[in-house]
Amino acid sequence: MWRQVLALIVKELLAVLRDAKSRSVLIAPPLIQLMVFGYAATYDLDHVPMAIYDEDSSQASRDLVAHFLGAPTFRLVAMLHSGQPIDALIDSREVALALVIDRRFTRDLLTGQPAPVQAIVDGRNSNTALLIEGYANTILSDFSTAWAVAHGGLRPPAVLDIRARYNPTLSSHWFFVPSIVALLTQIVTLLVVALSVARERETGTFDQLLVTPLRPIDILLGKGLPGVLIGLIEASVIIVAAVWWFEVPLRGGLLPLYLGLLIFVIAVTGMGLMISALAATQQQALLGVFLFMVPSIILSGFATPIANMPDWVQDLTLVNPMRYFLVIVRGVFLEGASLSSLASQYWPMAAIGAASLVAAAWLFRSRVT
């Protein structure tokens, strides 16, 4: 029996790998996507265009301006001489931040009044707006404390000493590149598995497969294992690129990573087989892949945290294998997470995998008979 299943697996792999177009689609696009998305997926701010209107134009205000010019986060686009152009600059997105230093700035500083500084931010991208506000606040409070100390003010009773664990410079790449392992592995595995049965159905060879001595469970294995294999290889290539090209630290062991990867790929294969068993044509399979893949990526915690979702959406994500694998891959890469601390991620994924495989087997059987 195993020899026959093996033969089917070899045949499946050949079917995907022999066609030059299919083969290149498995290798080149994921690597290109890794390169482009690895650099594109970032929440870091760099060279934010800003305008400054310095109404005060004094030693102190020029000092404050110098603080902003010295920060790599901001890039001065316009030094204004009136407040009028600000609206147009923000509207047209030429600047994302406009800083207005009030005429009373120096006077208030010297008399101990709170000296007003206006920070006008483009809120169309609310996340960028929050981050810009944060950066501007940091620069302003640095200036504040420096000024207070230089002018004999009181030191604040307590100061914050903020440190980020696992990712001290808070580099977005460290967060997103490991996540891309999950993203691309899921897409490739799903496509290979979900379209394979439908392709045979369309060309009529599925019926030939059915009259062989292979049982439905053997066909399932023969269809599923190539997907698992291709998924594992694809993921390994991306992991190597993440470590050597993007230089993301791989702090944990390969065992917790690959155990998670194996369970994840099996769970995704199960989902793919379910789609495959339900679809009569490749188009339906493609539609099924989209309908599963798009929500599973958007609601996985890839770009926006699951903790921010309302409870009923959080409950929905519990059946999404990618949700668990993202925690594993980020945990192993950055936190050096161990097998035991990830146990709570392994077993739900394994349960999803088992359930989807059983469902796929049942669907196959009911379709066959």
Binding site: I90, L287, F290, I297
Partner: protein, 374 residues
């Protein structure tokens, strides 16, 4: 276009509409898919952190320490948990039970009273960098508020001599949903538009009806037009449904004019359908078509369009690549028309880019279709 051609086109259109009506799958892709996805994602996608689990470690309780930690307990951003030692808090962070730790060491009081600048240890889990930055910002806010309150109680001048007056234009409450829903609409319409056309032409090939069409006097242009018009109308219907959901369910303000929104949506829809037509006339193998559809539509519209990730912060080479993503222009237009109004300096250049993209996609689809029919 002469009378005979018009008549043929009308016949083809009738056939397309009948097909759409009898096979509800394209109606589902046009209306149901956008509605369901927007409903799900509109609720699910949010960058507003609240109730962040935070560990508070106070090693020597005092009135001063209590006044500081009290500020966290009142903040809606945090759900503080008390730990007695820093080791226990660290363990909770390792197990992902808390996102950050605020630690007042045992000499906190003594140093605060004698000379100030008493250090408060703040550790955030930096794995999710964006969340970490937002949490840092919240902690700083709480700290600044506490400093001001302390100074006011003691009757001293404010410890930070600058009063920052932040003013977030267009979205004063900084709600991430108002920013994300317009982008979601662009992403979902890219998907629906490309899927609609990518599937229909392939279907004609598959059933062999394309050859049947070819032996008639119908021209390539008429076939493509007959495919484009019905799905364009369907797509615009889906767009209208999405905008309605965005405005009425998610209460995103629509400050621009409806006609500017409709006109730019029409341009975008042409580009999206053109891309679908191009994919379906280019790929002979459906496995390849599926891969191309995903590579060319969903992922770029998700990652390269400015929907969540700010394009200005990407490396320049990636910024160059984003210019071939139609969704990029539509996201910029939608974010402005929804939140800011009819900002022509944003709408016009982006609309021009959409016209160019639509022309290229439709022209290429036409050229490829002709070659294959000959």
């Amino acid at each position: 276009m002469n009378m005979a051609s018009l008549r043929r086109l009308r016949g083809l259109l009738r056939k397309e509409f009948l097909q759409i009506w009898r096979d509800p799958s394209s109606l589902a892709i046009a209306f149901l898919l956008p509605a369901v996805l927007l409903f799900l994602f509109g609720y699910g996608v949010s960058l507003d952190a609240s109730n962040v689990p935070l560990a508070l470690v106070v090693q020597r309780p005092s009135a001063l320490a209590a006044s500081f930690t009290g500020a966290f307990e009142q903040s809606p951003f945090f759900r503080p948990q008390r730990f007695l030692t820093i080791q226990e808090a660290e363990r909770a962070m390792t197990n992902r039970e808390v996102q950050g730790i605020v630690w007042l060491p045992s000499d906190f009081d003594r140093r605060a009273v004698s000379g100030g600048n008493s250090p408060i240890g703040v550790f955030v889990n930096g794995v999710d960098t964006n969340n970490a930055r937002i949490v840092e910002g919240y902690v700083q806010q709480v700290w600044a508020g506490w400093l001001a309150a302390q100074a006011a109680v003691a009757g001293r001048p404010a410890p930070l001599p600058i009063a920052v007056q932040p003013q977030v234009r267009f979205n004063p409450a900084v709600k991430s949903r108002d920013f994300l829903v317009p982008g979601l609409i662009a992403m979902i319409m890219t998907l629906s538009g490309a899927l609609l056309t990518a599937l229909v032409i392939a279907r004609e090939w598959e059933r062999g009806t394309m050859e049947a069409l070819m032996v008639t006097r119908v021209t390539v242009r008429e076939i493509l037009l007959a495919k484009l018009i019905p799905y364009f109308l369907l797509g615009m219907g889906g767009m209208a449904a999405s905008v309605a959901i965005g405005v009425f369910l998610f209460e995103v303000p629509l400050r621009g004019s409806l006609w500017a929104l409709t006109a730019t949506s029409a341009l975008f829809m042409l580009a999206a359908l053109g891309m679908g037509l191009l994919i379906s006339s280019f790929a002979r193998n459906q496995f390849v078509a599926a891969q191309i559809a995903i590579i060319a539509t969903f992922l770029p519209a998700f990652i390269l369009s400015g929907f969540v990730f700010d394009i200005n912060s990407m490396p320049w080479i990636v910024q160059v690549i984003t210019h071939v993503v139609a969704a990029r222009y539509f996201v910029a237009i939608l974010q402005s028309t929804f939140l800011a109004g009819d900002v022509w300096s944003v709408i016009l250049p982006n609309a021009a880019a959409l016209i160019v993209m639509a022309a290229i996609f439709l022209g290429a689809a036409r050229a490829l279709a002709r070659k294959r029919l000959d």
